[in-house]
Amino acid sequence: MTKIFSILLTITFLLSISCKEKLPLDKDLTKKSYNLIDQDNNEVVFPEIIKGHIIVMGFIYTHCPDICPMTTHNMYLIEKELKNEGITNVKFVALSFDPDRDTPDVLKKFAEVRELDFKSWTLLTGEKTTVNDLLKRFDVKAIKTDESIDEDGNSEYSMMHTDRISLVDENSILRKNYKGSTINIEEIVKDIKILED
């Protein structure tokens, strides 16, 4: 009997190690708070707003025509797949790394035209220094490229940026990073199931 118990204990231990290997990161996001603004112009505090939920977090700028829409669409597909699997305790957060242009109103329109559901989606912007601080926490970089001034005197630019979707657990611990534009939907859904167990 003791032998069987030892074997079961060993199997459980090995399984827990194997799960940790699948989710390689363990970065606590609760050590610092960030005052941000959501798409409805509400002041929110990160990570308090995500507490208690598994979070799929994307990093975007709305003037991006290619990579960021791919990332956003992949998050939409993840949500769809999770719904099919009956998993509901997952929220979707998109943080803009272009707060100068991505005002709450711009973020809201970006979400509406893509038919994102605000019950599960939050789009965030904020003061540039705060946003940059939070980006550093996620090891996300974004720099302006090809900057010029248009006829109306407005600054026009593209951004070179980290291509990223991150998975954060219910305790606001960053657990895994993925390439946002080409993420394997099955892989992240599997990882979310590990967090749910």
Binding site: C64, P65, D66, H73, F110, T145, M160, H161, D163, T182
Partner: protein, 133 residues
């Protein structure tokens, strides 16, 4: 002679050797940007060059490419793309695309837009693309 050639041109127009397949674009909102994608099929033995795209949907239309450096992704304008003889060139997400800047109106899922593609050999080709997620 010119009149004769014109009559022949009208009666027997040259078959266009460039075919545009699967044009589509992503939904986006007014004043923002989006991308147009399609596959260019060059049925001619000769290479051709796409050097300009026009559309009433946006204030500015450019040919762009997405590129990566490490885990960073960026985008830059290119002046043209060359489609080799008897070959395909795909403008697709994460690669070459037509960038529409400062959209004049919202483009919603299912909306259609018209574009004129300018090729050095094949001349102007009009296409219609539908917006899809």
């Amino acid at each position: 002679m010119n009149i004769l050639l014109s009559i022949l041109f009208v009666l027997f127009p040259p078959e266009n050797k460039i075919k545009i397949n699967n044009p589509w674009m992503r939904p986006s909102s007014e004043k923002m940007a989006t991308a147009l994608y399609f596959v260019i099929e060059n049925q001619s033995e000769k290479a051709d060059t796409l050097f300009q795209v026009d559309s009433d949907l946006a204030e500015k239309v450019e040919i762009h490419e997405t590129y990566s450096e490490g885990d960073m992704m960026g985008m830059r304008k290119v002046d043209f793309v060359v489609i080799g003889g008897k070959s395909l060139f795909e403008l697709k997400p994460g690669a070459h695309h037509i960038m529409l800047m400062k959209l004049k109106k919202n483009i919603n899922d299912g909306d259609k837009g018209e574009f004129v593609l300018h090729f050095k050999q094949a001349g102007e080709i009009k296409i219609t693309a539908m917006a899809k997620k």
